[in-house]
């Protein structure tokens, strides 16, 4: 069975710059993935609900203006809702010194400006495969 990763591309917090989110979402869609895309400023509970309802493997958070500071709260909320296995990646402007805190909080990867789309797509595909493998250990 071919794996079609299910990806949610969204923005939480207050910023509205969505060029990056749109470009990445379109790229993942064109790479054959199921992409759910939302407007910016999603509440954390709304993202958690959507991730569960849509059976999402990977959540991509785009952050251009410090919204990455509340990504740890998103991961906590996912865990509290029993969706802690969803992989969360962050793309955008994240200062180097703030990356370790994100990784420690459970972020799978941070993509900085200049990251090639192909690399992002590869990462998402393998992260989704890992998520599926944990969810359905007998599937293979």
């Amino acid at each position: 069975m071919e794996l079609r990763p299910r990806v949610l591309v969204t923005k939480i917090g207050l910023d509205g710059h969505d060029r990056g989110a749109r470009v990445v979402a379109a790229c993942l869609r064109d790479a054959g993935m199921e992409v759910v895309y939302t407007p910016p400023w999603q509440d954390i509970p709304a993202v958690v609900k959507l991730a569960i309802e849509e059976d999402i493997d990977v959540i991509g958070i785009s952050s251009l203006a410090t919204d990455h500071l509340i990504v740890p709260a998103l991961i906590e909320a996912l865990r509290a809702a029993g969706a802690g296995d969803v992989a969360v990646i962050v793309g955008g402007i994240v200062p180097d010194e703030e990356v370790p805190a994100l990784i420690e909080a459970g972020v799978a990867q941070v993509f900085h400006p200049g990251a090639p789309l192909a690399r992002i797509a590869d990462f998402v595909r393998s992260a989704a495969a890992r998520v599926r493998a944990t969810r359905f250990p007998d599937a293979r």
Binding site: L14, G16, Y37, T38, P39, L69, P113, G114
Partner: protein, 577 residues
């Protein structure tokens, strides 16, 4: 592949005429011979080469000759300060008065902002800007958003008192204040009330309502898009009407191409959409009974300036020429002040890279030069560390120094429109103008900018351009030094990030806001908000006048925005990829 204006090189005058004609026939033949020799030599040495195409899709030739410049100097190029203003809107341009250095400022609490402002005032600044926190942009008070985000991208300003703290020590009658203040213009209302409290007539206030262009927010910078499209349309007209009567020095509207180019529009598209927006706003004002000669001189423009150097210069020269025609012929303005295309430019963050970040200093210098040669009135240069984090003080200093170097060391301001008359720049200006007009026609056919935005047409066109640009980067067709070319191993970080606002100070700002709110005369606040409701549903009332009244009664930013959202609808951008 070289096109080289055939008409000049092949036209031969009638034979056997007078000596002057014979001379000119000889000249033409020498010219033709020189052009052919060059073409052959060029082709032999370069061979088949891919066409060079700029970001707006215009093919760029390897060489330009006199025939590429417009035939009529006076009608198409002319003198600065005279229509069609191709060379600049003032007779003196930068030789007479430099552009304003207007850097964006704003982080942390109002007290933090004021400390920064005082340093700028000591440095002799006469033009300040205020960037509020993203919570403010979204129309919320500080107690309504995640506390981690407060003050990280701008100053937290929710009340008249907060703005008073921000501007403490500033001579309001002598300083131009640019407020990043989307409608319903709460910061402008706070400024008016702050002036009144100092005993000043608001008529003395000078500055600009930046971010008043709701169409650009609906299309591209959604975080500023607070009210529904029809609600936005109404409140903007109310603000323009209010200020025209009472604040003659206030620039009511800044029409913004910057957001759209940042979101992916090509330079020609960004110029076209901006002009289309200005036409829409002007028509709306005219329908409201206002006269173009009165409101148009208070319109200003704001653009992105990318690293596509000649293209940007041509974009600005073409935009000036087009606006003259639009203001005069389409909108019927008779006063020359209405024909002048005043604009602020910001160097483009999209071109900046995280890899080898110090290279960004060179990029910003090139972008700034394009803006200066393009004839801007005011300039913000980005800090090199913008691609890494919120810019720190060292990066901000270099951004300002870049402007000083270009002006005072390199002396770019000695000659007005120094690239005017370049066969390439004149030809490119014409081509960009034609490309801009093509997009203007698409928008016009869709029923004007309001309709085109409502239908998602503009958003789709921008999305496609963003996609195409990204593909050019991925394929290497668009070179990004350090990203897809000339890569080097990471030399390690030398960057000191701007520290996040002090959480303790932000907490105390939040607590004092809560205390202040609880201590307000509640009856006056709810009366003022009810007046706002009534104004929103009464077409003869001015909603902005009620926003000012609400500020006077102690209403907060969040309360005013929430009330108008309830009455006029919330702005919802189209979500599409």
């Amino acid at each position: 592949m070289t096109r080289l204006s055939q008409e000049v090189h092949t036209a031969s005058p009638a034979p056997g005429a007078d000596p002057a004609a014979r001379q000119s026939a000889e000249d033409a033949s020498r010219l033709r011979e020189a052009a052919e020799r060059w073409r052959a030599e060029y082709a032999a040495s370069v061979g088949a080469q891919p066409d060079a195409v700029n970001r707006s899709g215009i093919a760029i030739e390897p060489l330009y000759v006199p025939a590429d410049a417009p035939p009529s100097f006076l009608d198409r190029i002319g003198y600065p300060g005279q229509p069609p203003y191709t060379r600049g809107i003032y007779a003196t341009m930068h030789r007479g008065r430099s552009w304003s250095q207007r850097q964006l400022v704003g982080l942390g609490t109002p007290a933090d902002y004021n400390a920064r402002l005082r340093r700028l005032i000591e440095g002799g600044t006469t033009a300040v800007s205020l960037i509020p926190c993203n919570s403010v942009f979204r129309g919320f008070d500080m107690n309504e958003v995640p506390a981690e985000l407060l003050g990280t991208c701008g100053t937290v300003v929710d009340t008249v008192e907060h703005l008073e703290t921000c501007l403490d020590g500033l001579d309001l009658a002598r300083t131009s204040v640019a407020l990043n203040d989307p409608l319903p213009f709460t910061l402008l209302a706070f400024l008016i009330v702050a002036a009144e409290r100092r005993g000043l007539d608001p008529a003395c206030l000078a500055g600009t309502s930046n971010q008043s262009d709701y169409l650009s927010h609906c299309v591209a910078n959604h975080m500023f898009f607070r009210l529904s499209l029809p609600g936005s349309r109404r409140v903007l007209l109310d603000e323009i009407a209010f200020c025209m009567g009472r604040m003659p020095r206030w620039n009511t509207l800044s029409v913004v191409g910057q957001h759209m180019q940042q979101a992916g529009a090509t330079p020609a598209q960004a110029m076209a959409f901006t002009l289309s927006s200005a036409i829409q706003y002007a028509r709306d004002c005219i329908a409201r009974g206002m006269r173009p000669d009165e409101f148009l001189p208070r319109f200003t423009f704001f653009f992105d300036v990318s690293i596509s150097f000649f293209e940007e210069i041509a974009k600005f020269r073409a935009g000036r020429r087009l606006w003259t025609r639009i203001a005069r012929d389409t909108l019927g303005a008779r006063d020359a002040r209405a024909w002048r295309f005043k604009f602020h430019a910001q160097t483009s963050g999209v071109d900046l890279t995280r890899a080898q970040p110090l290279n960004n200093i060179a990029r910003v210098a090139v972008q700034a030069m394009a803006g200066i040669f393009g004839g801007l009135q005011s300039l913000h240069t980005d800090a090199w560390d913008e691609a890494l984090s919120t810019p720190g003080p060292a990066g901000a200093r270099i951004a300002v120094a870049t402007q000083n170097i270009l002006r005072e060391e390199a002396r770019l301001t000695d000659v007005i429109d120094p690239l005017g008359g370049s066969w390439y720049v004149e030809q490119l200006t014409d081509r960009m103008e034609a490309e801009i007009e093509r997009t203007l026609a698409i928008v016009e056919d869709a029923g004007g900018m309001y309709r085109a935005v409502e239908a998602g047409l503009v958003q789709r066109m921008i999305g496609e351009s963003a996609r195409r640009f990204q593909e050019h980067i991925e394929s290497g067709e668009q070179v990004c030094v350090g990203v897809n070319a000339w890569r080097e191993p990471d030399e390690g970080q030398t960057h000191l990030a701007q520290p996040r606002p002090d959480p303790a100070r932000m907490r105390s700002h939040l607590e004092s806001f809560r205390r202040w709110k609880a201590g307000r005369p509640a009856a006056a606040v709810s009366r003022a908000l009810d007046d706002l409701t009534r104004a929103a549903h009464d077409d003869t009332a001015n909603t902005f006048e009620q926003v000012v009244a609400a500020a006077r009664s102690g209403c907060t930013h969040g309360e005013i925005c929430a009330r108008l959202r309830r009455e006029l609808g919330t702005g919802q951008p189209l979500a599409m990829i």
